[in-house]
Amino acid sequence: MNDNTACKLPRRRTLGWVLLEFFGSMNLAITLLVVIAIASIIGTVLQQNQPYPDYVLKFGPFWFEVFRGLGLYDVYGAGWFIGILAFLIVSTSVCLYRQTPAMLRDMSRFRTQVQVRSLRGFHQCAEWRLPDRDPEAALAEVTDALRVHGYRWRVRDHGDHRVAAAMKGRCNRLGYLFTHAAVVVIGVGGLLDGNLWLKLKEWRGEIALETRDLAARDIPPASRLQPGAVPAFRGNVMLPEGAAANFVFLRLRDGYLLQELPFAIELRDFQVDYYDTGQPKSFASQVRIHDREHLGDQPLEATIRVNHPLTYRGHAIYQSDFGDGGSKLELRAWPLSGARREPVEIKGEVGGALKLTGPAGPLTLELDEFRLFNLLPEPDARPGDRKFRNFGPSVGFKLRDAAGEAREYLNYMTPVQLEGRWFYISGARSRPGDAFSFLHIPVDARNSPERFLRFNARLRDEDWLRNLLERSAPAGESPDFRRDLNLVRLNLVGLFAQGGFAAVSEKAKAVVPADRLREATALYLNILRDTLAEIFVEVLREEEVDVERNIGEGEEAFFNDAVSALAALPNYGTPFYLQLTGFQQVEASGLQVTHSRGTAVVYAGFAFLVTGIFIMFYTSHRRLWAWLAVEDGATRLVLAGAGNRRQTEFAREFAGLQTALARRLGPPEPSAVAVPAAEPPPPNAPVTGATAPHRSTL
């Protein structure tokens, strides 16, 4: 115990000493633990590594810059965060450096220098007066008991008294060493596997982030990393079926780097399996590894699944994502806005863009995604019902006008049954985050949207309408009245076709005095409905339906659904309805490739950590002392002890030891009972504040 000497000799306050004192201080350590915990929260609340424009949208340009400066979009890679982690590692190392010698010494040293006074101050202490035994015999009894309890001891004769100093559970100290060494090891290993190397290269100007959207072969050398350029990386690549790549992309902040691999991965097939319920059951990529140098002409075949990566030459390849690899789609564009009825056939590929001409100028059709399955909650299920239905294939696309404004659509290929009737469904939205609002096109007898679309086209065909209305106007009225009525009907249909029911009510509001508004609106709507019905019947007739006999509930329901859909059309926002008529799916598999040199180091750290923690918690370093002297012709025996952990268990052990001795030596002196209270506490009551003398070395 050199604490005393340390107090007497004033230490020289060299810089090194001050630094050690600072880094090794417990207060700093605890502060660091809390600070890291709090700092880590940031990255969980703010989604990390999103595209930068998203952040601009979220925070506005000013705060965007501030947060970027603070590195908040990649907190765990930010210099300051890594700095605090490094601080913790340094602090723990210093702590280890300072504690280890004392602990090792503590493990091997029996403390035979003790004052009887301090022994009597121990929580666990018992005292005997033994008139009929000499110290030698008493000591023999004590050491017997110590042996039974697994202690090792050393006896020292101080002349007027003797001390037997015993201890066990020395390895508890190793627990401390293991645990804290593990923190350092894991920390260092983790830093090795992090982005540190990239940062270093970036900082030295050896590499530059690429922020443009380029094909892999066009990426300039400054943004390319050769195999082995960094010891650890984690990158992704999306491979369409049939394609191969010998590189992955490393995403970093608002850009990326291309990491070349020492081999090529070819995706032969990507498969998704489903449960009977329609939920995905497995994602699997069949790949081939091409590596002429190590494999020759015989590529390595393997299947990679979620939870079952492939490791090849220190690179682990994971199934991490999937998508579309350019499925070929056949589409039919049905005009919605004019009198034209014939659809246009289009062929395209997911990921591609097509130029179209709309009535209001050129449009770009961007085919974004194709899905074979759409497992969605039942439309009429209560929330939480967990009933799902497969809605079949769908295509997602954007229509971008000349000004660059885009509207997004999601069209299902097959009709969907809702409330007993069948519809083609198409969702539209003008902003990415919004919910889709759906257009429900009723399905005709031939399972096609055609009847509805012809109905719609007829509404917009003025010559045809005029002709029809003239033929069907009520006979017997004056020609003037017929002309006026037809004009009204034509106008109403026109208004409805352009703006739905809302346009009709607006118009009524504009031309009718307020007191008669309700009445007039109702009248207008009636006329409109009748007219629409007439048009509809004509459309059926054109289909060669026998309208005199064959109009029933089905047609009526169709008519009602069609009118609802027509009323919604003005908000649909595209001049045509795009029907998916055929596809040839090409899937793509997202693979992640990682190469990490630090893994072994970190895993070793894990092993240390667990071992250390268990040793520390579930063993304890216990010391016992027997102090013996001859006083007034009798032998005095003072037995005391302390453990650095697990006080209850130690109290129990001490009690056992005391009882064992009491059986041989007689009962201890009552005054020496540890807590001389009226009613002794149960031995398994917690013993707090037991201060083992060796704690002072900390």
């Binding site: 417990m26 605890i30 633990l33 809390v34 890291i36 915990a37 880590s40 929260i41 990255g43 969980t44 609340v45 989604q47 990390q48 765990y76 983790g190 984690r234 449960y275 319920t277 939920q279 995905p280 059951k281 497995s282 699944r305 979620v306 939870n307 079952h308 990566p309 682990a316 994971y318 991490s320 929330p383 939480g384 967990r386 992640q592 490739v593 990682t594 990490s596 970190v602 895993y603 894990f606 950590l609 667990v610 923690i613 268990f614 918690f617 006080q647 129990r652 009690a655 056992g656 009882t659 009613e679 002794p680 506490p681 149960p682 031995p683 398994n684 009551a685 917690p686 707090t688 504040g689």
Partner: protein, 392 residues
């Protein structure tokens, strides 16, 4: 409740001399080994090398558990008997759960969970009645209720495991795969930890407080069942189809359970400390468990939780390395696990190296529960990430 020192010492001596327990220990070991061997004979064709190794390890662990803590034996026997009974009633027909009387009202997993819920709530009330009424009998009843609830809960989980296979061979999986299932696990583990400390410290005074958090979990579970229909067995998404799940999740919940227990003891500590200063001779100050006891058990629970949580996080890292391509991705769930871990590391250091005790540590343990709760629930509810399958 408190045993005198003499009595305790006597018992101590007894334990070391009496041969009776030895025989029972051997019997216990043989019984478990025999049961495990029988299961092995039945399922041998379906098991691979790992699974055999796991079964051997599990058998030894179960034997050790029963040797270390005697009440675990009766518990294991009760759970096994009920589970086997349920499996026998089921045979291979899942639909029997609606018609077989025993299954429908007692052993079908959903029924078992309802029994568990009821018994835990009753136990909570009974513990408080025992505490304030100073009734030994009520206390013993509360303990029995808690044990029964735990038996029902674990039986329910095991039966549910089987039920998932009855639903479809490819659907079957261990019931620790979603929030609903792990909430039951949480209640069970917290209760078992509590029962352990109750037994070791020979006091029932802490029961009401600990059972409060279990009742809260039960309340959540009922809401989740009836409002959200979360109790249906769902097939496993590919990300969860891994052996690691079977050990990672339970290890985590030993941690969560221990931290929750510590926090509730913190609440008891603060209540008593407050009562002692306000009305030192009032009922509260006398009836609540002694401060020193609370302080010690709180420490033990946090230490155990910390050890379990360390293992769980490491297992999670090993799993992540296999499933996501890296042992650490700073995914919100991972990060919050780290936050919880650092928080309790700080707590332990303050106690051990700075010698802090008492109210501040109790407060910290209570706050720790909120941190833990966020890691376990909040992340799923509010944050997105790779762990997002566990959402409400």
């Amino acid at each position: 409740m408190a045993v005198t020192r003499e009595a305790m010492l006597e018992q101590w001596e007894h334990l070391s001399r009496r041969p009776g327990p030895m025989v029972r220990d051997v019997l216990w070991g043989l019984l478990v080994a025999a049961g495990s061997g029988y299961a092995w004979l039945l399922y041998r064709p379906y098991m691979d090398g790992y699974e055999v190794a796991i079964q051997i390890g599990g058998t030894l662990a179960l034997i050790a558990w029963g040797l270390y803590w005697k009440p675990a034996r009766l518990f294991t026997l009760a759970v096994t008997t009920l589970t086997v009974l349920a499996l026998w009633r089921y045979g291979a027909d899942f639909e029997l759960r609606k018609s077989d009387f025993l299954l429908k009202y007692f052993l079908e997993s959903q029924a078992a969970f309802m029994w568990m819920s009821l018994l835990y709530v009753l136990a909570t009330a009974t513990y408080f009645a025992a505490l304030f009424g100073r009734s030994e009998f009520a206390g013993a009843t509360a303990t029995a209720l808690t044990w029964s609830a735990t038996v029902m809960g674990l039986t329910g989980l095991l039966v549910r495991w089987r039920e998932s296979y009855l639903l479809g061979a490819d659907i079957g999986h261990i019931p620790v795969s979603n929030l609903y299932e792990v909430f039951i696990l949480f209640a069970l583990i917290t209760a078992l930890l509590y029962l352990f400390y109750e037994d070791r410290y020979r006091t029932r005074a802490m029961g009401g407080f600990v059972l409060l958090i279990i009742s809260a979990a039960v309340g959540f579970l009922l809401w989740y069942t009836f409002d959200r229909q979360a109790h249906h067995i769902q097939p496993l998404i590919p990300a969860l189809q891994s052996y690691w799940m079977k050990i990672h999740v339970p290890a985590n919940f030993i941690g969560y359970g221990a931290f929750a227990l510590a926090a509730m003891l913190g609440v008891a500590y603060l209540s008593r400390a407050r009562a002692e200063t306000r009305r030192p001779h009032g009922l509260l100050a006398r009836a609540l468990p002694p401060l020193e006891l609370l302080d010690e058990v709180m420490y033990k629970a946090i230490a155990l939780g910390f050890a379990a949580f360390t293992i769980a996080t490491i297992l999670g890292a090993l799993w992540a390395a296999e499933a996501w391509g890296g042992y650490w991705s700073w995914d919100p769930k991972e990060t919050w696990a780290l936050i919880v871990w650092l928080n309790y590391a700080a707590w332990l250091h303050l106690r051990l190296t700075k010698g802090w005790r008492g109210a501040p540590m109790a407060w910290w343990a209570v706050i720790g529960l909120f941190v833990t709760l966020f890691a376990f629930l909040g992340v799923n509810m509010f944050l997105s990430g790779l762990h997002s399958y566990g959402s409400l």
